[in-house]
Symmetry: D2
Subunit: 338 residues, 4 copies
């Protein structure tokens, strides 16, 4: 069996997650992982997974002719140069979202990818979630007729730490970006206009850092549908990830995933355990699936990755439009963002 | 508009309930209500409802030629004589369940009804519940194919007081009797065999009075189906009334009714308010419907009441068989109960 | 027992609904009902309900000194003059929503009410719904902490006929007005800003009449919370009426009401019957409750009606702001609407 | 890292399932797999999984001193001799259920295990299911008080083929045996009496082979609780695996697992996709967990396996009692089965 040789740039939480899934994929060999901080712990972890090399220098991946595909899991500000270099080296690329905080730079990276003729997949893992896939399928096959309203609820269980907020690009770019992609994915249509309301209701520190923690974002789509996203950085009951698409012939809604189906009746109430609390738990299968499909695409020579650079660019443009809308207190057309 | 003149024997909880519903029925006039204890409070209540007479003597009802129908809501031990007298006086009869604690006496009462050619409806109100009606309808129309398994959960929120238990005939006769009728109603078939297990788990006082408080009753039906009923006299979370019918082409299950649909998510759990706690609350509509249909039958001259004396007799025979089964530790055929 | 004497102006669907509930209320006597079209059918209906007089002239109500309270159930354009006349005649008033299509006229009517010292209740019946009452209670008692997001889904099963759309004031005024009141009721706070998106997706005829059939309306509240309402004039699966309030300590969501709890499992799917289809069915109890509470207020001499003229005015101002927002393509502050 | 060397006897569906899970467990090396039919396909499969040897002779496992633990996944009639030989060779044993169709033979095998001082775990995988574990935990920690009623619904999506039915030991032994173990697991108490009703309702061929396809089994427990199991070999809507435990302080019920949470509303109904259809899909995680815990026990030198030979024996005795009860038409005490 042919195996795909891959390198992973960045051994943080998400880099390691991909490494673990890739190491269980019989079609893949993880040749090298690079990280700015190579510790003994990292070495031990890599050995257990059967990763051949650990290096501080990402160029050991880019310049290794035996490596066919690169996973870019480093911090956002490195995505554009790494994509560019990897593309120029002829490697296929899986890059985490967002590609950059400035959609114009993202456009540059996409040019490099195009010029090199390599494949680029981006990390919108939620498209691979069993619930959202089912919604998309129902919409695409016309089970609910024409989509009129797309509603997305996306709330984190707890805010990130302030250090992250400083560099994240803000709620629209670091959190709602998944929802912007989801809106396009579910509707099968482009967003044409955005109106965003934001507020600091969870923690004043977030406001002091120039960000918001709560938002309602209204959307218009090319196909005439309208949408709304609501976000909060803190849902005390756990990760809240639901969508609803309402159409001319019906409606489909997905609820959260729960750790079990137990319903407990007591003298006080009828209750169940909280929904899955953390994104790694909730989206476990989706992370496995997105890498599996990427590998499949490369090995079969298809360049039809399920979520590509254009998808990343569009989500970034919507995020930019949302921020502009909030700052200027008016709806912003997507064609303003060029 | 023609109005039906009715009398009510017994002004306890259930007698008053029927009186209130009848007094709101434009086709009915409640002429007289009798009770062994005529208080000022009762007089006031009757006046407010527009009931013409209150009397201590039930014969004022039986012997009143202007009264066409009698509701028998007195204690169980009076049902047989009152049915017999009312029938002989040519009155149509609505009688609460059970007709008697001894099915042979019930048979006697049914003879009197038959001889007089009057209509007798019995108080299995649960047949008129929105949930159970829907199950019956699905079964009858073949939506789940042939019924294979009939499961009934029937648990009271709290045990009755000891004085009631002394005269009630026991759990099978005072409580499960509704479930025996439900088993026949849902399956559309006769019960042929009963195996009953009982236990005293809720309150030892109940055991000292010779009764049980918890039961599992297995059934066989003429059409080949099997069934099981589980009973408890104390479900701390409220009145628990669910059924499930499983068949060759599918299954239907009904859950409890709740006071609202609110789902509350907190850091501890996702919960909802307890199901409706009390039978008067849960079965409110069914009580209205059963009297409405009885009145309708009389006024239209139909003698096809929705639940009749034979239904009461069969439920009593099953209750008798269940008790016999528990005492003798063996399955009992219904044809043993003659 | 003292009885309140009432008159009802307008014997259309809603006038008759109130009449029927009032006629079953032991504390009320419906003295007179007026309608522009007095038919034999109306006479017969009134007689059956025990209503003493039927008249074509509403003045027979206004000028009848024995009548203490008036229900105004005529067409919207008559509400202001009838309120004014009834107030001047010293009658307490129950008026259907909206008071008028022009909030400045509504202000005038409220002045008349204030000057006369009478009580005015307005017909936001949804406040009396078991589900929404429970949400309000949970929010008010702090069970979910501070409210951050208020989400209201409000979709009709089918659009009204074109004749109604011509005079209704449009989706914001005839349909969303209930939701604007709900937003205030659930949040316990005033709306300060509105941004509305509308579209014609259900039926082009609605667009030709200058109205919309689908909307997403974003709100800001005085207490810092944000909200969103989504409306459609046509949900094929039935009346869709849900809300969710998300707060710092949790969230509460209410689902629709269903005619039964049956869950049916077949080889194709697990399904249940559609939610209650029509507003009279869904909000049955709420209509009874709102009139009961109004009567209670009058009889006890309280002037604390549960929903008053100011509530009606505020909902109308929000509706006006929503329309302005949609037409001008910008968020509109409520203080612009004076 | 120390690795446990294991051998697997039997490369059928369940043998391969365990092999696949074990091959992903970093603490395990699968040394050898044996099967009566060694094909090229089996060789290829084993190579891909990194299994060193494939053999037709199970003795290559029993006699290999480097192998510390044996998984017995061959047909039921071989379990007793293989357990005995493996125990005598000093290997720890994981054996699929049931150990044998004759509990007296099982007792013999358990003697051999005891004499050899090895560990034996048996394949009641459902104890490791997320739903049932949660129920057990709630019962054990007293959240529902004392258990009064234990209800188990266990229905297969489709009957096995007739060849299997001929050798399976019948519904009580091949199917309900899981439920008998579940009853003991959830109640934390021994079954003392069994009453079983069976019927042939699904397919007459099953009856011709001397088996039943539908059953209701009533149980009594040492701690006073009562229970009921209902079984069908054919639930058209999929694998139906639910339990409910009702106690003095409340109740807990678990529903089936579904492939997604999508709820679809159309003009006809509100529906969701059927529950997970097949046991491998539904119990996927439980199979991984049971092997993981077995390996953990061996490696840590604990001999406290989560489900042992005695558990298997008890379930077999209950199955035997159930069959006896059905044949003799009477409740059977477990102490009759010695």
């Amino acid at each position: 069996m042919e195996k795909l040789n891959v390198g992973i740039i960045g051994a943080g939480r998400i880099g390691r997650l991909h490494a673990e899934h890739l190491s269980r994929n019989a079609q893949v060999h993880v040749q090298t992982i690079s990280d700015m901080f190579v510790t003994e712990e990292l070495q031990g972890w890599a050995t257990r997974l059967g990763i051949s090399n650990v290096t501080q220098n990402y160029k050991d991946i880019i310049e290794d002719p035996s490596i066919q595909a690169v996973f870019i899991c480093s911090s956002t500000n490195t995505h554009v140069p790494f994509i560019t270099e990897a593309a120029q080296a002829g490697k296929h690329i899986f890059c985490e979202k967002p590609i950059s905080l400035d959609y114009r730079q993202t456009m540059g990276a996409l040019e490099a990818v195009k010029a090199a003729g390599v494949v680029l997949q981006t990390g919108f893992n939620r498209r691979f979630d069993h619930n959202f896939k089912r919604v998309r399928e129902l919409v695409q096959t016309g089970k609910i007729g024409d989509a009129h309203l797309i509603k997305i609820t996306s709330r984190d269980p707890a805010p990130p730490n302030p250090d992250y907020i400083k560099v994240s690009g803000g709620l629209f770019m670091d959190m709602a970006i998944h929802d912007f992609d989801m809106a396009r994915y579910l509707s099968g249509s482009e967003v044409t206009e955005v109106y965003a309301q934001g507020a600091v209701l969870v923690d004043p520190v977030i406001g002091e850092l120039g960000d918001i923690d709560t938002a309602i974002i209204s959307l218009r789509f090319e196909n005439g549908a309208m949408g709304v996203i609501d976000n909060s950085r803190k849902a005390v009951y756990g990760y809240d990830q639901r969508v609803e698409v309402f159409g001319s012939e019906g409606s489909v809604a997905v609820n959260n995933d729960y750790p079990n189906t137990a319903e407990i009746s007591t003298k006080d109430s009828v209750y169940r355990d909280n929904p899955k609390f953390f994104f790694l738990e909730r989206y476990h299968e989706s992370y496995i699936d997105e890498t599996r499909q990427f590998i499949e695409c490369i090995l079969t020579g298809s360049n039809q990755v399920p979520v590509d650079g254009f998808d990343a660019l569009q989500a970034e443009r919507i995020a930019f439009a949302a921020k502009k809308s909030m700052l200027e207190g008016r709806p912003v057309k997507l064609h303003e963002i060029n």
